[in-house]
């Protein structure tokens, strides 16, 4: 079995296994799996409105997935996408609320603010890893919580006055468009999808075609050889976290300037960052893989909202399926062994 075929089959099998186990859980709990999946399908594709919502949903997933995947390619585990996403959201909305400028300046400025905020938030763990060899997993997790409390504080005390949200951004900073809305029966679909697709291309081009990408990939595979070859390992580590954080911050802008058009105090994490990890993993940490994987997750998450309504099944089932998919992808060694075994049978 060719390596390429195997590397596509493996995530597909993981998804199928996840759905299979999810089905078993439903049956054991007394729910009707066919009704549930039908509800899921209808909830995602049954209406142009839903399709618009699906696209809107997977837009930040693409970016969160790119963030995790990019860091992973350089050998880093960025679990801090949640926090970088939050600060990006806040920064974008802050600019959106605080200024009143023509759209052609205001919108790019807000987006830029999100990118910079996310990058800066990721800079700290990147710096600590590069200079002090501190493992980024724990630092990024801690930074998530700092981001949560800090952004709540800023919303309550700096932007609003003891209020729970920032209020709406000015129309000149929004990603939404009336045309897109009319196209999709007033879903919240916004122009951010263009940015997300562009970002996929940026990641691919940067990593695969440039000298900087050559360095980043070398560092990701073998820091020692990269160092000996003359590359500055620390600089590349920090750069990769900056870029990763930038993608994450941009994901935040998607929500702040597109989906919601405001920022609110939060009691917990949105989950976009953790879902980004799942998206990246399923997508094999490549730009194209992340793109398709994000679409799948968008479909699942939006469709799931219909499950309680149409089939009486709690939408958390989809979260369970997603967790199982991550398990199976992570355990792909076993899937590959299985694939090897059946391909040997074919040869004989």
């Amino acid at each position: 079995m060719s390596k390429r075929l195997r590397s596509i089959l493996t995530p597909v099998i993981a998804v199928l296994l996840g759905i299979l186990v999810g089905t078993i859980i439903m049956i054991v709990s007394g729910y009707d799996p066919i009704a549930a999946f039908t509800a899921l399908w209808n909830g995602a594709f049954g209406d142009i409105y839903y399709i618009g919502e699906v696209v809107r949903q997977f837009t930040p997933y693409i970016l969160a997935g790119l963030a995790v995947a990019f860091a992973f390619r350089v050998g880093l585990f960025n679990i801090g996408v949640e926090g970088q996403f939050l600060v990006g959201w806040l920064a974008a909305v802050w600019v959106g609320v605080a200024f009143d400028l023509p759209r052609v300046i205001h919108l790019p400025l807000a987006i830029l603010a999100a990118i910079v905020a996310g990058a800066l938030w990721a800079f700290i763990p990147g710096l600590l890893k590069a200079r002090f060899r501190v493992h980024e997993v724990i630092v990024t997790i801690m930074m998530n919580y700092v981001a949560l409390h800090l952004s709540n504080y800023i919303i309550r005390n700096v932007i609003s006055h003891k209020g729970d949200n920032t209020g709406p951004i000015h129309k000149s900073a929004t990603l939404r468009s009336e045309w897109l809305e009319s196209l999709t029966d007033y879903s919240r679909l916004h122009w951010g999808i263009i940015l997300a697709i562009l970002s996929c291309f940026v990641m691919w081009f940067l990593l695969e075609r440039t000298t900087r990408g050559f360095e980043l990939r070398s560092v990701g595979f073998n820091q020692h050889a990269a160092h000996y070859a003359g590359m500055n390992v620390n600089k590349n580590i920090i750069l990769s976290m900056l870029i990763s954080g930038a993608f994450a911050g941009l994901a935040g802008a998607m929500e702040g300037l597109g989906t919601f058009e405001y920022a609110a105090v939060k009691g917990g994490f949105s989950g976009v960052g953790f879902d980004g990890i799942a998206v990246a993993l399923l997508g094999g940490n490549t730009a194209l893989g992340v793109f398709f994987s994000a679409i799948l997750f968008g479909v699942l998450k939006v469709g799931a909202l219909n499950m309680p309504l149409e089939a009486g099944v709690p939408n958390e089932l989809v979260d369970i399926i997603i967790a199982l998919i991550v398990f199976f992808v992570a355990s792909s060694y076993i899937i590959r062994v299985f694939l090897d075994r059946i391909s040997k049978k074919e040869v004989k």
């Binding site: 440039t210 000298t211 050559f214 070398s218 020692h224 050889a225 000996y228």
Partner: protein
């Protein structure tokens, strides 16, 4: 029972790769039996089967005539088989005693009785003459003592049969003599020994019989007193082996590398290069002879920019290079075949073609304005692969799929192609088969004949003596002697490597 261990027709596979193919080995009681083969021939695998770490697909093992099934090391231990590993199996953060008793702890009321354990360790160590400090942490003791701990582990478990896996790789000639004494003492105490090695001289000196393995197959068993190194070597590689590399005399010219008073510390802050002076001229090969641990690695790392030097001067063609970045040093005209090719030499997950431009990717024609030109990169890769006889399915094959020898050839090709004035080769033939070794030695001599300066560092004395025009002996971080290979022998070098001065060494060996 004449044979205390019999391994009959053993077959061991790993995912289709046959490591042991129908091998038979029989160990007599009270003998030292050598197991000879090149790197990768299957010696360690066979012994791991005996020790219970691997299960054979076919074949039978008998201990004292009885067939046994050794499914894990505990059973091997119960049968009296103990293994002294080549790469020590010691937990750095544990003490000597904790390492020895691990798995067979002495307890009282549920807790480990560490005092009693230390006492037992002392007793065994005195009985067999293996000096250790029971309370020392492994990370703090010498390599020699670590090896003694490995031996004690087997004796603590009551081993009657001891397997030594390449025990002399990291010892000085003097320590090797001590080890040989220890082995003879063990035999006197009634033990039987299997000695895995590829060192012909040791086999001749200490073993009674020798079984030869080649590429997984058993070739035969000979009585050592009835054979000689040449015959053993031929059995090992399957053809006539030429021991000396053909080369004409060197005609060295100007000084290329000048090192003065180099001082380097290791990660723990210990000074390991202690005022080293050396010159290498164009058109000569200088070989650094020394036992592992005398500063060679740190010395090479310092002059290639991988480690900070405290003081000293490193001049290449008069240009000061000390503490410059690796890139600066490389671009000033230094080529380096690193000691650990997987760590420093290659990115194994990259195609071999991309590995060829690992240092030059940011220069024309391989890239322009930050964008890579893959056409040019692979064009160069292809030509290097051809020129240096790198066996690979294609230039797009991942580096990790190539054999060690071909990986090394690729690295040499890359370094030589950059036309450096100084070529540094650190352990260039480690782990390679005889064919690859010959190729690499030829290339080094070729570079020397083209007027380059070549610095060779190796733990294999024979390689140093064969290839170098001058030999510099490193001991405790200094160059203590510079000798002409034609005017010395292994014994004298061994003494110099262990710290004797030239005069003493000369007296002892009558050179």
């Amino acid at each position: 029972m004449e044979y205390v261990i019999e391994m009959l027709n053993i077959r061991k596979e790993f995912n289709g790769f046959v490591a042991n193919d129908n091998i038979t080995l029989q160990l007599k009681k009270g003998e030292i039996h050598a197991l000879l083969g090149e790197n990768g021939a299957g010696k360690s695998t066979l012994m791991n089967v005996l020790f219970g770490l691997y299960q054979p697909e076919q074949g039978e093992i008998r201990v004292k005539g009885k067939p046994v099934n050794i499914s894990n090391p505990n059973i091997a231990n119960d049968l009296g088989i103990g293994m002294v590993h080549q790469h020590f199996m010691l937990v750095d953060t544990f003490t000597v005693t904790e390492n020895i008793i691990l798995g067979r702890e002495i307890t009282s009321g549920g807790r480990i009785d560490i005092k009693k354990a230390e006492q037992q360790v002392r007793e065994i160590s005195e009985r067999y003459g293996l000096a250790v400090d029971p309370q020392a942490k492994i990370s703090d003791i010498t390599v020699g003592m670590q090896q003694r701990v490995e031996i004690l582990k087997t004796l603590y478990r009551g081993a009657e049969i001891l397997i030594f896996d390449e025990p002399t790789a990291v010892l000085t000639p003097q320590e090797i003599k001590e080890l040989i004494q220890i082995m003879k003492t063990l035999i006197k105490e009634g033990k039987s020994i299997i000695l895995i090695t590829h060192k012909l001289k040791e086999i001749m000196e200490v073993s009674d019989r020798c079984t030869v393995i080649r590429k997984g197959k058993g070739i035969g068993t000979v009585t050592v007193s009835e054979t000689n190194p040449n015959e053993l070597a031929s059995l090992m590689v399957g053809r006539e082996v030429v021991f000396k590399t053909e080369k004409k005399d060197a005609s060295p010219k100007q000084e290329v590398l000048e090192i003065n008073n180099l001082v380097v510390k290791d990660p723990r802050g210990v000074t390991v290069v202690n005022g080293l002076d050396l010159t290498v001229r164009a058109g000569e090969i200088v070989g650094i002879a020394g036992v592992d641990g005398n500063g060679q690695s740190e010395f090479i790392e310092a002059i290639t920019g991988l480690r900070k030097a405290e003081t000293g001067s490193v001049k290449l063609n008069g240009k000061e290079l000390i503490n410059q970045t690796p890139r600066h040093i490389t671009e000033s005209g230094v080529g380096h075949i690193p000691q650990d090719r997987h760590k420093h030499g290659l990115v194994l997950n990259f195609p071999i073609g991309e590995n060829m431009v690992l240092q030059t990717y940011n220069k024309k024609p391989y890239s322009k304005n930050g964008i890579l030109n893959f056409k040019e990169i692979y064009k160069k890769a292809k030509s290097l692969i051809n020129e240096f006889d790198v066996r690979t399915p294609s230039e797009y094959t991942l580096a990790r799929a190539l054999s060690g020898g071909n990986q090394q050839k690729a690295i040499i090709g890359r370094e030589v192609d950059r036309n450096p004035d100084l070529l540094i080769a650190a352990q260039p033939t480690r782990g390679l088969d005889v064919g690859a070794i010959e190729f690499i030695h030829k290339r080094l001599i070729e570079q020397r004949d083209n007027g380059k300066a070549v610095l060779l560092v190796s733990f294999e004395l024979e390689e140093i003596m064969n290839v170098s025009d001058r030999i510099a002996v490193i001991y405790e971080g200094k160059i203590v002697a510079i000798v002409n290979p034609k005017e010395t022998n292994e014994q004298e070098l061994g003494l110099l490597m262990a710290g004797s001065n030239r005069k003493e060494a000369g007296e002892v060996t009558n050179v």
